[in-house]
Subunit: 459 residues, 2 copies
């Protein structure tokens, strides 16, 4: 099946058939889709009628696909489905899901629904579910699954393969198997590949790789995804504080983590705080207002400081009126120069290339870059002021000398603030365009008018 094209056709066809209440033909079409496609179709429905169709479609699914599709839905869609199916169906779906997916679902569903599910679980299941629900969000613990294959050191490759065949668990988790010591500590890992290519009487102990990399259950997910990127693993073992193996994290879950982390940085860089995972269209107007308001009010207050600077120089502005004309240009180039530097440094910090201790290297680099940029932009600007605007040379000099200073200052501040933020434990992404450019505005005005005052001898 080619991506998209065929899928879009089938999806449209299904929705039409459902609208026409041709359920038997609809079901035939539904069976052509895999779980991810089904989740996309359900996620795309909009109105009341659409939700009703989504529930009908969902109940048509073979049981194994319905569980996987359910785990891929957004929380809103999950709640819609939960409202439309029986408790028994819900129970079945939950039981059919991979353990880590189930935990993700339970974390999002409202307490009364979760209670209904927990009541039907065995005591041991409840205990394990509760342990997993208690791992902090964004920790390795919250990403892992306890479903992994455990092999014994004293087995042969053939025995190990027979055991895997017996256990027969899910595809993502079967490709790396684990060997523990009697204290349940991780002894080594064995890839399914090495079992398959070894002679069947080779001992597991010989194939096993010791000293493998692992993460701690309380490690941040950013650290976990960095390990996947660095080592190219398919799965990584997770140990608790006594070094006991408690679960594994598989690479398919990491792809989502990477996207989440980037989205968070992205939105903070654009001045949106308190983001959520719902996506733009699914986040309501009031929630959007709440996410955007704090940053705007903060930046408005700092813009007021810039206004204060200007008001102190009102007399100067009345005397040399054309000074105001170059204010947007100075504030603009300052802000944009600062954003460039901060963006690159934030990125460098995010991928681990930069550390706060690189501050002097960043500063020295930005100083040279900003000097070159400042001088070249100012010369172009000077020519424009003198020959196109026809302003006197004193105005031109004031503007252009200010511009060089402003660009240099903006780039150095833009490069330093993310490093400082990291050092004192604030998210560096907050030190991006909105904050840096508002901050630079104040400096631009201050430098500009102070210089003008001196040059025009007013004070």
């Amino acid at each position: 099946m080619e991506l998209e094209k065929t899928f879009a056709e089938i999806a449209e066809n299904i929705l039409e058939l459902l609208d026409a209440k041709k359920y038997i033909s609809a079901r035939q079409e539904v069976l052509k889709l895999n779980a991810a496609d089904v989740a996309e179709v359900i996620g795309d429905v909009e109105d009341e009628q659409g939700i009703e169709n989504a529930i009908i479609l969902f109940r048509m699914l073979p049981k194994d696909i319905s569980a996987e599709a359910f785990s891929r839905l957004s929380t809103d869609d999950q709640l819609n489905i939960v409202a439309g199916i029986t408790d028994r169906e819900l129970d079945f779906i939950i039981k059919e899901m991979d353990f880590d997916d189930m935990i993700d679902v339970l974390e999002e569903l409202p307490a009364n629904v979760v209670d209904k599910i927990l009541v039907r679980a065995t005591k041991e299941e409840r205990r394990q579910i509760n342990t997993f629900l208690n791992y902090p969000e964004d920790s390795a613990g919250s990403l892992m699954t306890p479903d992994y294959i455990e092999l014994r050191k004293e087995w042969t490759a053939g025995e190990a393969l027979a055991h895997i065949k017996e256990a027969g668990i899910d595809s993502e988790t079967v490709y790396t198997c684990y060997v523990k010591d009697p204290g349940r500590r991780l002894l080594g890992i064995v890839s399914l590949r090495s079992l398959v290519v070894s002679d069947s009487d080779t001992p597991v102990a010989e194939i096993m790789v010791e000293d493998s990399v692992y993460v701690n259950v309380s490690d941040d997910q950013e650290k976990v995804s960095a390990a996947f990127t660095k080592y190219g693993f398919l799965a990584i073992p997770v140990v608790d504080h006594e070094q006991r193996l408690v679960g594994i994290i598989t690479i398919d879950d990491i792809l989502q983590v990477v996207e989440e982390e980037f989205t968070e940085d992205f939105e903070r860089m654009g001045g949106v705080l308190g983001s959520d995972d719902r996506g733009y269209l699914d986040t309501g107007v009031f929630r959007q207002v709440r996410n955007r308001f704090p940053w705007l009010i903060l930046l408005m207050c700092s813009a007021m400081v810039t206004g204060l600077v200007i008001s102190r120089f009102e007399l100067l502005l009345t005397d040399v009126a054309s000074l105001t004309m170059y204010l947007p240009l100075l504030m603009g180039t300052g802000g944009n120069s600062g954003s460039q530097a901060s963006t690159l440094v934030i990125r460098g910090l995010a991928i681990g290339e930069l550390e706060p201790r690189d501050a002097h290297r960043v500063l020295w680099k930005e100083a040279r870059i900003s000097f070159l940029l400042g001088v070249s932009l100012s010369l172009i600007n000077l020519a424009k002021i003198l020959f196109i605007d026809g302003e006197p040379i004193l105005i031109g000099l004031t503007v252009c000398v200010t511009q060089i200073f402003v660009i240099m200052l903006a780039k150095c501040i833009g490069g330093m603030l993310p490093l400082l933020a990291k050092k004192i434990g604030i998210d560096p992404a907050l030190m991006a365009a909105p904050f840096i450019s508002t901050l630079t505005d104040t400096f631009s005005c201050l430098i500009y008018f102070s210089l003008a005052s001196v040059i025009f001898n007013l004070y």
Copy 2:
């Protein structure tokens, strides 16, 4: 081995031993590292002496690890190593590498080095290498490897496993195997897991999954990574224009693609064009200037337009001097409001949640959000202007009515421009903070002064 801690100790120890020329002890330590760690140690060296040590360290490595470590080095570090090893050693390393890694390396190395390598390859190898080198950058073709396991439909699971054991290729590529028809078209996929859990006399044809998702050799890597995120694959088959299977892409390469794509968007959002993969510290000052200059000069020119608007209202500003004081506030809130909207829409486009055809939904949403934000911020601002600044009510009204308009306009432009960019085939990330805020500046001034002219009856 726990992440980082132990690794950092070993790495430091190795560098010290190399400095002290204790090569035998150094080698013992080096053997504790895996290829990714070795690449990191080599990537961290700085001066002449460091490079020399890096070469010595590299030549100490077991051959299989040296090839993998080499493929993970930056191009600069690769060139340093190439300069320090013999042609025969280089040849060996290249041959030992995974095919897709080799292509990546050959794409970056200078032509004379590549020629030296190609001369030693067989005619068939040269042909294949050249085909792969010709796939456009960022296409599925440039990401894929031709090393995959091909099974025959008529084999049993046991025969298939025996074949895999015989072929015994690399771990990332072995977990999904492929079945082709006589025309070399993709017939179906077989996971190693399903072979292992099936009885050994089950025919491959029975285990095989038909109708699997594939990508085209010319598809953009963004589309490929979206498929991995959506379906959670470990590998995806790549077909050519005649639907023939030509290679596969594995998930470990996709993690890098996702990071690259994000970095590109990130930098464009911060006003840095023409980025490269070198990272902040490795990109020279002149190159940085070149990457940052175009955007700055463009934005400077549009800031000049804002200046022009102001100059048209010079008379007004001389008469009502305190108007200038509120200019930074209006331009600031406008710019930041616009950036928030554009960031969210750019993100929505990047993850495929939004499409240009959602324009009316975005517009309607932004209109409501910006109205609420505009009114609430303006009221706070009005109180400040009247009671703290002690300005007359007319000034307060002018500023606050302008502010509502500016925020609404900025958010609607910020929301629309990325959609428009996508529609006409420009990267939406270019429509981020720097561009939007510079554009909003012009509108802010125009609305502000036009309104003030009316209110103060000057024209």
